[in-house]
Symmetry: C2
């Protein structure tokens, strides 16, 4: 039996970048101590969620994977603790910039990079200003402990991302996120956000882990206009039928962990017959707008 323990860590982020790294590291060490093998941190945890505003100087935050501080820092941590760490970062690549995740395996080496496919745009989620739509396509990663799929935040709203990673052999799905208040739309998306991902988990019959940030962040755009967002945390872990087994609240900086038997889940997935009964020849509409 391949038993695996996965963890989701949740933290707030400020412009004190040293503190962001050290808080994330403490949670990773705590989760590893509890036996976690793969530990997920929130999206872009190295900085505040700068996409809250369109601000030209923030374009300079993008770094290559070789230069990015968080990736380099957590390569050493992953190796020391023997844990897998998907690290979300703002990636510079020549004249383009991506919202990326470097997958660091338990030996501290980078297995590769996934670049966020779906880029949101709306008040306080001005990602189309910063990020080139990802050019890697969906990817799965043969880590030391499991074959995993990693999407990034807005990707988690699209059934296509989850299904593609499942078809490519993912056994567990991970989604770092940065989501909170909608300062203009009159909506609280917390339950909606969870239900979409519970659907991916239930429909693909595999656990799903999402880590979100917490805290209030205030920003000022290039016009000098001020805004603020409250990130709602609620990081969670589902089992293979989509039920939430562990969840953090809307404010705490902490981690959750859950253990899964991957071979038993694979047997259940197989017994259920969904992947046997797919009919790709009838899915052409999915490739249209």
């Amino acid at each position: 039996m391949r038993k695996i323990k996965v963890a989701a860590a949740q933290t707030s982020c400020s412009w004190d970048l040293d503190e962001n790294i050290s808080k994330a590291e403490k949670l990773v060490r705590d989760a590893a101590k509890s036996g976690a093998n793969i530990i997920l941190l929130p999206e872009l945890f190295e900085t505040p969620y700068f996409c809250q505003v369109e601000k030209y100087e923030y374009l300079k935050l993008a770094k290559t994977v070789e230069e990015n501080r968080a990736v380099n820092h957590f390569k050493a941590v992953a190796k020391e603790l023997g844990v897998v760490l998907p690290i979300s970062f703002f990636e510079k690549q020549n004249n383009a910039a991506f919202n990326s995740t470097a997958i660091i395996d338990a030996d501290g080496k980078i297995l590769g990079i996934y670049r966020k496919t779906h880029i949101p745009c709306g008040h306080c989620y001005e990602e189309k200003f910063y990020f080139t739509p990802g050019d890697t396509g969906f990817k799965v990663w043969n880590t030391k402990y499991a074959k995993i799929g990693v999407g990034i935040c807005w990707d988690q709203w699209f059934c296509e991302s989850a299904r593609s990673m499942a078809l490519m052999g993912a056994e567990i799905l991970f989604y770092p996120a940065a989501i909170g208040s909608e300062p203009v739309l009159n909506t609280d998306s917390r339950a909606h956000w969870q239900r979409v991902m519970q659907g991916h988990s239930a429909g693909n019959i595999m656990p799903l882990i999402s880590s979100n940030r917490v805290g209030i962040e205030k920003e000022q755009n290039s016009f000098g206009q001020i805004s603020n967002m409250t990130f709602y945390g609620n990081s969670f872990i589902t089992q293979e039928t989509g039920g939430i087994v562990k969840q953090l609240d809307g404010k705490e900086e902490n981690f959750i962990a859950a253990e899964f038997e991957l071979d038993a889940i694979a047997d259940f997935r197989s017994s259920w017959g969904i992947f046997r009964d797919r009919r790709p020849e009838t899915y052409k509409t999915i490739l249209e707008h």
Copy 2:
């Protein structure tokens, strides 16, 4: 504002076919009286769920849409009450037979037929013995009250069905079902079943209605082997973020109804940006096994 009221009716079914029709009709009349415009009955409610067993004589239950009793009966009811009725039936077509739904519009005319795309197979769900995999592809229907998508039972487990119908312009999704106990697998799929569909509703940002049957049904296959199933009802209606707004229990024969403002939901769907941000060029894996 286009206000619409939708209903899900839930009933048990026996080999007293007259009673099946009259019980379904009573629920349709009650739902229409409460103001429902589109009323969903369970899958194959005209008979017991004969697919519980492989029995050669049951192949003879298939009839053309012109011959099928339930379809003909409810054409008159739809016209009298001015309601839309998707009617599930076992359809004969030359030498093939399908698990089909005829969409009867509020004037009693058939808009067309959808044939179930995904056909399950497993102990007590021996549908591959009876049904040719559907050849219509997913379809949406311009009914008097709304543009609707209708899948059939096992289709509800596949994100591709729901997404395809949403991309074709569906405003609400309907799924007649016949699901209950798993006599061999050690699992109760009730919550799993709901969560997958809540995910379709949340991910496509539209209401979803599923009607399931209730009751215990005993069958004997062509070998003389006896089996029985308990259908778990729990017919439900979600709002556009996937939350369940109405639900029946595991035993009652009754209906539920909920009202929706379709234009307000369309505005919310548009504001959320999911359909704007899809990237079909990255979804090719979906068309593979």
